[in-house]
């Protein structure tokens, strides 16, 4: 169910899509945050002649989708749910780079929600394109909904 917390999401939920313009700041600050050394994330001085984002920034698109679709757990705004979410799996396929100045369109849905060894998992599928229709990245993600309960069970 959209509009509440991440734990309320259910298989079949389709996120309200979002659009934003990719800026030089977004690419550079993310790359700096993980100490990337490739110049292409910081400036247009690369063979493309255009600054681009680190491919892993598809994960930020997931955060943006959750921010727009889970009103009671807007993590970018600093809201916390009762449990911290733990990222379990990242799986990205890159079809083309995303360049600074491009309008990015992000769509996504929940593909599964399941319990495994007493742990609750949520599976996502996310698609990133440019507004002109060029496919950038397709992404699958599995997130553990709460760690604390797990700790007690597995201890």
């Amino acid at each position: 169910m959209l509009g509440k917390t991440i734990a309320d999401l259910e298989p079949g939920d389709v996120f309200v899509p979002l659009r934003y313009e990719l800026t030089s700041f977004m690419c550079a600050v993310y790359a700096h945050g993980v100490e990337e050394t490739a110049e292409c994330y910081y400036s247009d001085a690369n063979p493309y002649g255009r600054q681009l984002r680190p491919p892993t920034m598809v994960h930020v698109d997931k955060l943006r989708l959750l921010e727009a679709n889970c009103d009671d757990e807007r993590r970018i705004a600093g809201m916390r749910a009762e449990a911290a979410r733990i990222h379990y799996e990242y799986a990205a396929v890159h079809h083309s780079p995303a360049f600074v100045g491009e309008e990015i369109v992000v769509t996504g849905r929940i593909t599964d929600k399941y319990v495994k060894r007493e742990r609750r998992y949520l599976a996502y599928e996310i698609r990133v394109e440019t507004a002109s229709g060029r496919l950038v990245t397709t992404y699958e993600d599995v997130t553990l909904l709460d760690y604390a309960r797990v700790q007690e069970v597995s201890a």
Binding site: Y20, T23, F25, M26, C27, V29, Y30, A31, H32, G33, V34, E35, E36, T37, A38, C40, P47, Y48, G49, R50, L52, R53, P54, P55, T56, M57, H59, V60, L63, R64, E67, R75, I76, G78, R80, A83, A84, I86, H87, Y88, E89, Y90, A91, A92, V93, H94, H95, S96, P97, F99, G101, R134, Y147, A148, R149, V150, Q151, E152
Partner: protein, 164 residues
């Protein structure tokens, strides 16, 4: 535009990046980077299980745990070092955070080539197992990657530049 490197690797070849310690300081930088990227404006780091030892304990964790995406990003950086622009054009990366990375932990990202596939004229796909490990050799994050190296990369890049 010419001269983008065409990397070549053999099955069984093992490749590694530098050892780097995931420190609390680095977790705050990641937090600031992630939030800046998500909002488009400078952001201070957030108080959460990745930056605050007390809050992490409240959540049942023994201490501050690194964000899995930090490991993914360092593995991604290794793929950049190995494949450069080929990775940006065609790469896939899957990572599973099978063991927590407690802060601080020294990590080394590694990859081994498991297959080299013919992907058509002038194209070779490399399949790799990727992981990071602590100083004891225990794997904390595991995954796989595929990158197709295309000998026509110069033309592909030139066309991308012209799109803008």
């Amino acid at each position: 535009m010419s001269g983008i490197t065409i990397p070549r690797y053999a099955v069984g070849e093992e490749l590694a990046g530098p050892e780097r310690t995931l420190s609390l300081q680095r977790l705050t930088w990641y937090s600031m980077g992630q939030l800046g990227a998500a909002t488009g404006v400078p952001h201070d780091f957030q108080d959460n299980i990745h930056t605050n030892p007390e809050y992490a304990k409240e959540q049942g964790l023994p201490g501050v745990i690194a964000d899995g995406m930090h490991s993914t990003n360092w593995i991604s950086a290794l793929l950049w070092d190995l494949f450069g622009i080929h990775y940006l054009e065609t790469g896939t990366l899957r990572t599973k955070f099978i063991k927590p990375v407690w802060v601080p932990t020294a990590l080394t990202c590694k990859a081994v080539v498991t297959a080299v596939e013919d992907a058509g004229p002038g194209r070779t796909t490399y399949v790799l197992d990727v992981w990071n490990e602590d100083p004891d050799g225990t794997r904390l994050t595991v995954g796989d990657a595929r990158v197709t190296v295309d000998e026509a990369i110069d033309e592909i890049v030139r066309a991308r530049g012209l799109e803008g």
